[in-house]
Symmetry: C2
Amino acid sequence: MRMTKLPDLQTAIIISEAGGPEVLQPAQMTLPQPGAHQVLIRVVAAGINRHDCLQRAAGIHHDGNPVPGLEASGVVVALGPGVTELDIGAPVMALLQGGGYAEYALADVALTMPVPEGLSMTEAAAVPEALFTAWWNFFFLMQLRPDEFALMHGGTSGVGHLALQAMSGLGYSVLATCGSADKVAAAKRFGARNAFNYNDTELAMKVLDATGGQGISALLDVSAGAHLDADLEMMAPDGRIAHLSGGGALSVPLKKLMAKRISITGSLLRPLALARKTEVAQMIRRDVWPLLGTQVRPALAAVLPLSDAAQAHREMGKGHHIGKIVLAVSD
Amino acid sequence: MRMTKLPDLQTAIIISEAGGPEVLQPAQMTLPQPGAHQVLIRVVAAGINRHDCLQRAAGIHHDGNPVPGLEASGVVVALGPGVTELDIGAPVMALLQGGGYAEYALADVALTMPVPEGLSMTEAAAVPEALFTAWWNFFFLMQLRPDEFALMHGGTSGVGHLALQAMSGLGYSVLATCGSADKVAAAKRFGARNAFNYNDTELAMKVLDATGGQGISALLDVSAGAHLDADLEMMAPDGRIAHLSGGGALSVPLKKLMAKRISITGSLLRPLALARKTEVAQMIRRDVWPLLGTQVRPALAAVLPLSDAAQAHREMGKGHHIGKIVLAVSD
């Protein structure tokens, strides 16, 4: 293992117990050691995701890591065995297996990418989780093709706003729904071919119109099926719906599913095998990375210091933000 | 159009109105004319399917053809424009777009196959719908791979008993469930790697055990989700469930779907585009046809004359039969 001189201890934010934002507490911890094909990153910024809030509410043991945080930007400070792709000092952004709310975090080198020229380190921290989520769901789980229409419920969310930019930048036709007129307008600015308020009673008809009657072939749902009736109506034959959020039981009318051969599925990104995440990373690196900093740039709704992680979770909970909330950890 | 000398009128069984088996009535009708790439078949035997009973209950306009019947065997008596694959006098079996309960029926030549040497004409009538249903669902909709386990609810049904023979004959590992000990034993004889009573409270555990813990990757459900809790428990990660029967609303626990990335879908064979059915036919012709009459042979639960179509529907309704019920139309 090659490394620079590092402190023995670091400050991290831990989930001290299951509960509200106030259970996020600073703690002194030893630095993690990079294993095979891992790097240690001195964190510059860490992205906040809805998953972190669910993890916090569920408690410390929910995800096997008391430190939340699924993405970060930073500088490589130590290389584990077998790492040849990166050098000490490289500015990177990475999808993490937790641990991002900290001064130092481990990353698999396969899920680590150089920070593109046109992005600040703070912006870079807001990129990985959104792109991995969108790419895994649309291109691997739902196998979206360029001649099909995609739709995202929550077009201004962390995932939504970046996916809209990246997918429309690559020529895909993506529509979005949002919960307010402001967010509808923002989703269009982010590249949505069209955007609608998901409370519109004529939602399905308007979406179908916007696709020239073709319908939606791949739909990413963060609403736990809140709009399923409209969804099934707006779907094209052989359409796929992927769920990102759990909720309770979804009541699925089988005949409607069968009539259009619609499939309903869902997934969690975090427990996905490294080999699969690596495939997703390769596709992102090839297709999206070249657009980052020019056509694709995360919107930062708020940047708060690491010590204000609890406040960041409060902002997430309100849901008024457009884009990403990020923790600034070091310069 | 080339043809032999044919009568002007034929006897067919029509759905005289929506209702019970008694609404199936004989009627005199003109013979249909083969269009491009169609053949006219003098029907020797016609298979009965559950779909026919649903069509009858729903009434004459449900499927656009007052004559039920999705499959038949017979002899080619007229060729439509463009037919070069078959000659007058060829003994064939075919998947039909309705119209099988009749002395003469139209078939698309792409969905018509020669009757294999080892099968009687009556047996041949019981083959097409079951194989097309099984192959479309398992190999196209669910993309079953040879290293995965499949399961069929209803292992002794018309579809089930033939699919078990054909798929196990080709080396696939298929399990089945049935509603009685007799049917469980029959399913094993048909080639199920293992079979269980679907009312067994330990169904999921027993199925998982029978797969060495791997779980089921492709599940064909004719029960409208009656066993969904057990299904989700016995599925492998990335498993697919396909529904053949409508029923009401299926209550799907989203978290369980997401945890294993299970997808739930369904389809109807009849409205599927001809181009797709043709692809299914090509795979069946290549893989299964060579096994027909030796390793794969339909079980005939009952053979009744065309005039007893109502009685055939009564037998279907009871659900005690193992295998197929067939109408004998001519010699």
